[in-house]
Symmetry: C2
Subunit: 243 residues, 2 copies
Amino acid sequence: MHPTEILTRRLRVDADLSEDDAKALKSLPIQVRDVDADTNIVREGDRPRVCCVIIKGFACRSKVASNGRRQILSFHIAGDIPDLQSLFLKKMDHDLATISPATLGFIEHSALDRLIGTNPSIARALWRETLIDAAIFREWIVNVGVRPASARMAHLLAELRERMAAVGLANGEEFEFPITQAELSEALGLSAVHVNRVLQAFRAEHVLDLQRNKVRIADVEKVIETSGFDSSYLYIPRNDPPC
Amino acid sequence: MHPTEILTRRLRVDADLSEDDAKALKSLPIQVRDVDADTNIVREGDRPRVCCVIIKGFACRSKVASNGRRQILSFHIAGDIPDLQSLFLKKMDHDLATISPATLGFIEHSALDRLIGTNPSIARALWRETLIDAAIFREWIVNVGVRPASARMAHLLAELRERMAAVGLANGEEFEFPITQAELSEALGLSAVHVNRVLQAFRAEHVLDLQRNKVRIADVEKVIETSGFDSSYLYIPRNDPPC
DNA sequence: CGATTTGTTGACTAATATCAAACTGTGTGG
DNA sequence: CCACACAGTTTGATATTAGTCAACAAATCG
């Protein structure tokens, strides 16, 4: 699959792009590169001249507070453009790094700039992507703000399952998620020890199992119930009225 | 001051808009309305046909989790367009309400749609606003995720002070902020009782004082130090290199 | 002015953090 | 093929932060 195809597919999902738009997307120069796990893509303070599309693998955005603790802000999967905002916000306010071996596509800001100038519907589709990004942040705030530890964990995995499924990366209730408990604790605002205990409890109750880079949701109902997960904030198109 | 002027001024802050752009903004039809404190502007699930500009007063966005607890996601002040995202994300994923008496301007989506179609630089400026909105969410995640209670409080007020100052609503280290401790607790992911104790401690140490709808920062240094506040995520233009 | 909301206090509890040690699995070089 | 190193996970004991509940005081509002 051509690297731009993953982009086209993603943007087509909700915006109706014309054949011309599709062609313009297809001719976007993308430089593809394979990188190891735990490699920084951009750091806080950087002024990148490219945006990054995840073609394969996992990445996360994070920020470290002045007390030295790192907070993970989001996880990103194939099809995501985690630093799209850098097109307008020139100086990075957070870090972006892989959490697994990944293949990334890099697109020059200048090329994107031209593209959104000539193809308004692509501009809208990209704008919309950044708005969904923000919607996910909002739910993340709710997660760390008001949910108890187990609900946080369940919610995070429920969200990821939904997003993985939307790009065909979940078969049944199982999907890849190569993450350590320490990283999970940084995403959820918990200690690693507590994350471990929450995971064990879920395993014992046959609710879900996160092991060896794989998540298996054993009891979807229960996961949804304990987390109060409602996918509408992800704006994944269904056949219902447009979201 | 004409209601559109507040918009023009805000968007001009960072984007260089042409005279034509300014004129287009000025001729935007805005319906102005005064509303009481604690009135809902839009609710989760709504499909608004307008966006809302705050001309005067305060608003907040919030979301209630399935356990019944409400999380406040952001505070909004004069010049903000807190539901700009509804232009592309048709169904609200959160609530927007005033927290003080306010005067609001309402702009039809259709008018904005036309505007961004005809004036690309306005489109860019608005897009950028939504990206800053997201940057503020990211910092909010860090706040509730990894900072202890007093740092959370200090950070929230430091941010607000900066934003108020940017629109000329802070004189010295004092600014208006009509909020109850219960609301603060919902913003910070704490209990109201704990918020009360944190505020008292700050008062006792002459760091800051929040009383009678006013915040007085007595010791800016201390507030910045305890919260680790760094304003760069707000992307408020300075004379430095563009952010 | 009474009524209601908001702020304050104390006693007690619960959730989660911290620390330190041990255990497991996996890959590497001898 | 074994021994070792390393990263990640698990465990137990203890500490701390922040939550809960309930009562009361002080503002604020109509």
